[in-house]
Amino acid sequence: MNVLFRDLYNTLIEFLRTFGAFQLFALRIIRHSPSMLLSRFDLVVAQVFNSGALSLVIIMVSGLFVGAVLGLQAYSNLSLFNAEDWTGVAAAFGLVKELGPVITALLFAERAGTALTSEIGLMKATDQLSAMEMMAVNPVRRVLVPRFLGGFIAMPLLAAIFSMVGMFGAHLVGVELFGVDVGSFWQQIQLTVEMSDINEGILKSIVFGAVASLIAVWEGYNAMPTAEGVGRATTRSVVITAIAVLVFDFMITAAMI
């Protein structure tokens, strides 16, 4: 019994220690961000391309199908009440407020987050980060900050594209497949979806972008510099991001209601 308590205690302390270190790390990253944006914008743009543009295909394909599924579900339920005109509204709320930011963040963690973590982990394992230290270049600033900023900037854009393509998917199912009147489909959306709903989605995607990028670079930077260590860090990066995104989603939604 004693052993159990001791282990629990140690685990808790270890968790708190890591959490505290993560916060300090986040502060370091954020402190260097403005000067990076101003002085080395080219590095940031390259990373927006890596994290954002290269994720476009997966984001757009997923968005199309998620939107189509929302359209299907909304239509089949709403038609019970002869409210098919509201298909678009149901899909729009689902996409803009919840699924757009959340699924984009999860896909982002899988596609871009893993790439960031393993890249940084391998750079560490092959002494590239120490080499920078020795060349009097701060690797946190030169390597981690542009990658963080790249993800942070790309995430909201990707979420917007996801929602947009998703609406097109819902339109295909609702209007083209089931024959909902195209005018009332879009008119209802325009009348019902408020700017505040869209802002909620934007806020979420900004927070998720920061969280997912921070976790990805943190895990890479703290990976054990071995093949196994980098593999584990990559897995952890996806798992922790997924949990963090869902927890933050709940908290933001609760705060906005």
Binding site: T126, D127, Q128, S130, E133, M134, M135, A136, V137, R142
Partner: protein
Amino acid sequence: MADQSDNLIEIHDLVYSRGPRRIFDGLNLAIKRGKITAIMGPSGTGKTTLLRLITRQLIPSHGVITVDGVDIATLSQAELYQLRQRFGMLFQNGALLTDLSVFENVAFPLREHTKLSNRLIRHVVLTKLHAVGLRGAADLMPAQLSGGMARRVALARAMVMDPDILIYDEPFVGLDPISMGVIVRLVRRMNDALGITSIIVSHDVEEVSTVADYSFLLSEGKVAASGSPTELRTANSELVRQFMHGMADGPVAFHYDAPGYEEQLLGRDSE
């Protein structure tokens, strides 16, 4: 601040432990200005660790390391980076940045620390690449290089800021005889022509003997012997003889600590 004594780097009473293992236990050594100093020792004596301590990538638990008379433990981050600009370091595996081409790798320190024009950077980089015989490889990516070529590019990068102190971590491992000869001559030539202080960490006795002015032999966290290569060769100490002549028997055990061989084979140790 510039202390013009003979010793550029001095280490006093250095203690450093990793986990329960004490790697350095009261190490004292001094590195002379403008000379090539070799630090030798059997694997696992912490030679690379010593380099990382000298450049403050690691912090000792006890003891003082001075560079040019300044205790490096007292430097702020900015001062440390300023000091490091005077160092060039060649890593064991080269440590080239894999997302940049050979040219950009060599240009990296210039782009980060200077405001030179692109034309001037190009000029400097090509000169350095030419010195290591790889001007033609400027557009290749590090993944396309062989191990020896990567080491030479890394050497060009280490030299590009014209450092006062060049540190080589196992520069001769895994090189073919031709590149080895080239690098040995390059080390010598740069040292003499540019007045650089060089520190070579190696266990390659033959090569080091041809190039070093002075050698330290580390063992068990201390300097076991020091002197010019010829002095070391003729030294009386058993440890030095074993190491310099590559003998299996002697004070340095070839076998890692283990229970008795016979006991273990007969399975008695698990009882």
